[in-house]
Symmetry: C2
Subunit: 207 residues, 2 copies
């Protein structure tokens, strides 16, 4: 009997995970207005079965957001606290930020939560806090990097906003033209140039 | 009588323009789901008067899109055909592209048209063509600028997409946090660094 229970539990977990994955794809495509029926259709399960595993669409959204905020890509701590100069840590942070957009489902969902008036307020607060933390972490490293000369001079808030605009623009593109997005996704180092200080040229040096 | 007709015509034109301006603000704020009532309220005219001047919301959208595509900021010809090196013309194109986002109402509307399933297909085709022309113009100058060494080497399609992602990200930010947007709008030259070639450093030169 315990054996059977174990098998049953594993099957339940698998079904739940399968429906969750389907929901992620549907939300990325249709936004949070997608219904439980859309999710069931995508997962190729019946409406009833979907509700058997998940009490509501809101429960699914909540689980997906929690997962997204727990994902390694959302974790700022490594780049902020690993060894290296501020410029080196900043590079790794921005590369991670850009590269994570190659698989945009989670971010599209977070974005939906932020934008949708139907999303539960507590989830929106969570996502907003996360975004604010990310901006603050980035700003911190930019200011340190400007002090070491590894980052372009100028208003750090503008630099933070420029990097965030790139991330947002990538998401938008991913949402509206996924094939073009996958084909021409820009190398992270292209965006890193936004932060690069001007190197002294020979000519200036000789003047 | 002709005098009176002239005055009447001027008043009609003014009312039409006033409602149009109000519609632009409402669409930027609420999206294309905004109703004729929303527009009338914003213009401080009655529902009936709004319909007297504009047959439908669709007629207003159509006029706004046509205006947007005719606006100087949407015109690619000057930077493509003015004198100067490819790099210089590219700079002026990208600066114009970024700077035009400081007043994002038109772009937010174009974007709404692209994204909204309710927008008339012919308008969407117009906006898409415009965006494609803009991408092609940009790509053309990037390739020429790479040949003269004024633009960073690398896949020109990725560079085009990176610049467009910035423009899109700026719009998104304008839409969702207009105050922060106006306060921290990044200088266009920050985004121009995306295209800047690496200058030869003293060290490399001496090796």
């Amino acid at each position: 009997m315990p054996r059977t229970e174990e098998v049953k539990q594993r099957l339940r977990d698998e079904q739940r995970a399968k429906i969750l994955e389907a929901a992620k794809r549907v939300f990325a495509r249709k936004g949070l207005t997608a219904t439980m029926d859309d999710i069931a259709a995508e997962a190729v399960v019946s409406h009833g079965l979907a509700y058997h595993y998940w009490a509501s669409k809101e429960a699914i959204v909540s689980e997906l957001v929690t997962q997204a905020l727990r994902s390694p890509a959302a974790d700022l701590h490594p780049p902020l606290h690993t060894p290296g100069t501020p410029g080196e840590r900043l590079k790794s942070l921005v590369r991670g930020f850009v590269e994570s957009r190659r698989h945009p489902e989670f971010y599209l969902l977070l974005d939906q939560v932020l934008r949708s008036p139907d999303a539960p307020e507590e989830l929106r607060t969570l996502v907003r806090q996360r975004s604010k933390q990310m901006q603050e972490g980035l700003r911190h490293l930019i200011v340190e990097g400007q002090a070491t000369g590894e980052v372009a001079a100028g208003d750090p808030d503008q630099l933070v906003r420029a990097i965030f605009a790139c991330g947002d623009g990538l998401l938008r593109w991913a949402h509206h033209d996924p094939d073009d997005f996958q084909e021409h996704f820009p190398d992270a180092d292209i965006f890193l140039r936004i932060l690069a200080p001007e190197r002294t040229s020979i000519k200036e040096e000789m003047e």
